[in-house]
Symmetry: C3
Subunit: 206 residues, 3 copies
Amino acid sequence: MDFQLYLDILGTIAFAISGVLTAMKKRMDAFGIFIIAFITAVGGGTLRDILIKAPIAWMHNLTYLYVIIGSTLFAAIFRAKLIYFRRSLFLFDTIGIGLYTVIGMQKAILLELPAPISIAVGTISACFGGVLRDILCNEIPVIFRKEIYATACIAGGIVYFALNYLGVLVNFNAVIAGSVVIVVRLLAVIFKLQLPSIYQVDEAGR
Amino acid sequence: MDFQLYLDILGTIAFAISGVLTAMKKRMDAFGIFIIAFITAVGGGTLRDILIKAPIAWMHNLTYLYVIIGSTLFAAIFRAKLIYFRRSLFLFDTIGIGLYTVIGMQKAILLELPAPISIAVGTISACFGGVLRDILCNEIPVIFRKEIYATACIAGGIVYFALNYLGVLVNFNAVIAGSVVIVVRLLAVIFKLQLPSIYQVDEAGR
Amino acid sequence: MDFQLYLDILGTIAFAISGVLTAMKKRMDAFGIFIIAFITAVGGGTLRDILIKAPIAWMHNLTYLYVIIGSTLFAAIFRAKLIYFRRSLFLFDTIGIGLYTVIGMQKAILLELPAPISIAVGTISACFGGVLRDILCNEIPVIFRKEIYATACIAGGIVYFALNYLGVLVNFNAVIAGSVVIVVRLLAVIFKLQLPSIYQVDEAGR
């Protein structure tokens, strides 16, 4: 489906550029920046494909590699101007996680994995590139600390199966679920929503 | 075997709660805490299954997911009281590594892997959930620094093959090997035993 | 091929000892040091084999395990004297990445993966043991920051396919490509060459 590939490329661009920005802050060299961009962009899908034992997408389709090389060059050259693209990048990233969640979920469903596991697989596809990026940059992954990000993916996954249960057609399903991911993520950022953080009450008492 | 599943669930609970506690210390949000609990509980088994190319247990049996969700909620709600459960948690964890070592080892033996590799697979099953937990929380894994933990697993593995060589029946074998893991770990904690740490003698000289 | 196995063992020794040295600096215990040595030595090949869905080399050939145990013991015992072996270790490591790049690349080519992906697989084989070592020691991987290391592997990979395109025989190809990796790496260290690091121009402006 051409439209899906187009969205996939937008997501890859956004993920790659978020990798470039994180790696530049850590003062990595050119190769390090490219590798972080690469792993941020394909890491979630790679972990998904290892878990479900599917062929790994970027190893069989050079489009990903070329898009990531292009995005890295673009981001490195225009690094001083990227602030002007911030909203576009955020939008691409949000579209990316919506799409990756649905694609991952559908791959899991084809393998007849149970619904909650399929939601987990979709969420892993969308989120683990960013987790790997943060681990390689020696940070606690940002999605574990202060963003409604994976939560948006899980919300979309639940809507997908709820609609399915109600008998909605699969393709229509997928579009709505992806949109739910995108809308939840947008609302969370616009209204600065966060999940509660549960501190340990009496750390002294341990 | 029902008894084995029961022990497996105890281990999963202990591993999940150790993940919750580590994640809470890092001030993660609710989703982050759940993910760390999840990865701590299933990470070792997942890496084992990837290495031996077996189906990944938690993807085909929802029990793990539900037990981890339940443990996370329990730990989050009673976080101020968990200190009273410390001994039970330690005991569950110790039973968990004994069991996981033996299960992992037996899976490797079925694939006719050599004895030292089977011991490695068992040890990975038991220990790498905790390693992943510490990496995601941006710590050097605790088992590399100051605990007789993996060493207990390796000791149990060696006993397993020694008994096997002496002609002891496989199931009896397994029970004894698991018990060795548990006893070595208990003794190490009770008597505060540690492996020697080998410092570099002349760091200045490098 | 006996000669290849011999080079492979030299590379394994060098990688294992680099793991031992990093782990000792972090004051790990004996088990932690061994595990870091093990993962540094086999990590790149393991990730390669997971990605290309091949059997994992160290699980089916005990030579790796024994070489790593021997290297760890040697390094731990002679830790104060390792400074005298520094050049040999550097040379082993350099031979190791040359060899691992070519072996990884050839495995990918046999699976008919595209040329740039095969180069990536070769580079991953050579470099990711060191990346995993640094992650487990809670450092930003050194190859992302300040060394021409992966770049040498990529250069060798490009030469391999260029010669292939020009009709050079495959085995002759492999020797030249491996030599290119080694020479680029040696020159980079001798002349202290580095890739440019691209700092963000206006970090304040973000």
